[in-house]
Symmetry: none
Subunit: 189 residues, 4 copies
DNA sequence: TATGAATGAGTATTCATTCAT
DNA sequence: TATGAATGAATACTCATTCAT
């Protein structure tokens, strides 16, 4: 009953994600979003009460996607697990753009936005925890070096995710190259 | 003659840089800038004709600063030179935030902005060229591995600059840690 | 320094008061207000951050005006004082329109509005307190009847203020007529 | 035939009346109305073509209700009749809120609204006429004073209706208290 | 008939930029 | 030159009303 929908919520969030990544959170306007969707700007308000809710929902969706994938990773061997996780994260590379922006969302006007942002940050913490555990286990196992602080290695590991894929390789291949470099180093001995 | 200066151009650009880094280019407003300067918002227009010119001038200034420092690096030994360059870049870590934003500046309204942005991109290319040369020499010299594409190693090297200094170490020390990791890898053999 | 003001804050609040009385609080728009002032709608925001602040400032101003006048009333003889107070209130008859609306103001977005509304309600309480005291004294003195609850007499007294001046008499004269009626009744014996 | 009614016209008008009284005419929205009814906002348009018609119908209904009750009042004794009328009006106290708002309805878009508003104003005039007649008879009879203009007494009489029932007494009792005061005055002699 | 959805016109608010002192 | 003030264009959001199922 009622008219046919001009676009699904799914489409809305996908476009929004794309635009936030392209323009940053503060460069993200509903006018812009509307221009990438069929239908009128005001139609968007049928789904979300304000800009903040859209951004928050967007981030939550991306985060959940990543979390689910990360859940499938077999953690028996920590090094292998890290390698798999890197692949997952690189497929969801946008996440990193979001993370910084999540805290920029003005959450004071909308309960829903507040909750979603909260959940995003919680999930983020969870992911970091998973990584920390793997690093810890790897170090105890003797498969990563112990002469440097874990946080330096973890920090660099996180940076891998953002490394622009200049060669335009398929994400998996690119991820594996970077992992090799991170693990073995760029030096020749 | 006339009133005393409310603030110098120097101060203006410094604050602008800080704010662009903090809020991203699209989150950067003249109202915000004025609130971080003594004097009135309209006074800013005594120095620059519009927002875009400010951003462009800002970036150019940071770029020149980096270029000068990079010029002092002794390039005799490519590996040592890379290490030194990393230090330089990390002192100017903000540069990276700028790089993405440089292309976001709407350059169509202002000749000056257009020119500055052009120069910034040229200098950036120059820096990349310097790096590429060093990588090339290092590879020929046999001090970095040859089994992986240079661009992967260079890409990762560039990412080092952005790695958040989670331990709050002095930049030099942090830079050296990262360089070691990049060169030797995180793995233990 | 700077341009000449298009209108004073005084003028702004006066027009706003007039319009709120005419259209009620929810019928009060900044577009409407701007159309009754020289200059552009956006200029209003130089003085007040939002609609709510304007309404709140408006009410406070009217309230203070009334309070000052009420302060001059000689309270030696309670009946005479009530008569004088009625004159004051009728000159400020708009107050009553405001009182209901004060609670409608959405105070959650603006500290200033919240404070002003708070002060308005406090001043209102003060005025009611002054009246209650006078009624009490009059009753003890035996000048108003004791066989009916004070609150009925006070309630009716308050209603006098809103009685439309259908004969278009000068406010003082009108007030005195009504006071006579309130005190002596409409009946003939 | 078709779906079962989501709500009756009766319910619609009752809710509308409540909301107009609560929020004033300009604060009355169809969105608000819909949220107080089962069924969808658009269903309202099955009954009325626009907001103005609803408000007008609402007022007419309340007016007719009052008129019918007023018709039952025995007018033999004018004073007694006034007392009865006050009871009637106080049961329909909302009327007064409407009266001011009736003129605010934008009647230019809807014939029906225009007609209803016209009828409301006519009925109002009729009621005033009824009152005026009673006042006149009472004065001639010598039961209300002649030293003050009728319109002042009538004006105050009308105000009685709006007097907030601060003691929360049953309407009849409250009405009688007020009538006594209006007739005998608040003074003690 | 009831309704979910679409929409356009209206209001609130912000901000870069221009004016006039 | 510095600046307080003015302003218009842009965006956020709301709501009455219309459509299509």
């Amino acid at each position: 009953m009622g008219r046919k929908r001009a676009f699904t919520e799914e489409e809305l969030l996908d476009k929004a994600e794309m635009l936030i990544i392209q323009h940053g959170y503060s460069g993200f306007h509903l006018k812009l979003l509307a221009s990438h969707l069929p239908g009128a700007r005001s139609t968007i308000y049928q789904y979300y009460a304000n800009k903040e809710e859209i951004a928050a929902a967007c981030m939550k969706k991306a985060m959940v996607r990543a979390l689910i994938k990360a859940g499938y990773v077999d953690e028996t061997d920590p090094i292998e697990a890290l390698k798999q996780l890197l692949r997952v994260y690189m497929e969801e590379a946008d996440l990193h753009y979001f993370l910084g922006d999540a805290r920029k969302i003005d959450v004071s006007q909308s309960k829903k936005a507040e909750q979603n942002v909260g959940e995003v940050l919680a999930m983020l913490k969870h992911l970091r925890g998973q990584l920390d555990l793997l690093f810890d286990r790897a170090q105890k196992q003797g498969t990563i070096r112990s002469d440097l602080p874990i946080s330096v290695m973890a920090g660099l590991f996180f940076q891998l995710i953002n490394t622009p894929n200049t060669l335009q390789l398929p994400p998996h291949e690119w991820a594996d190259y970077l992992f090799t470099l991170w693990y073995e180093g760029s030096g020749a001995y």
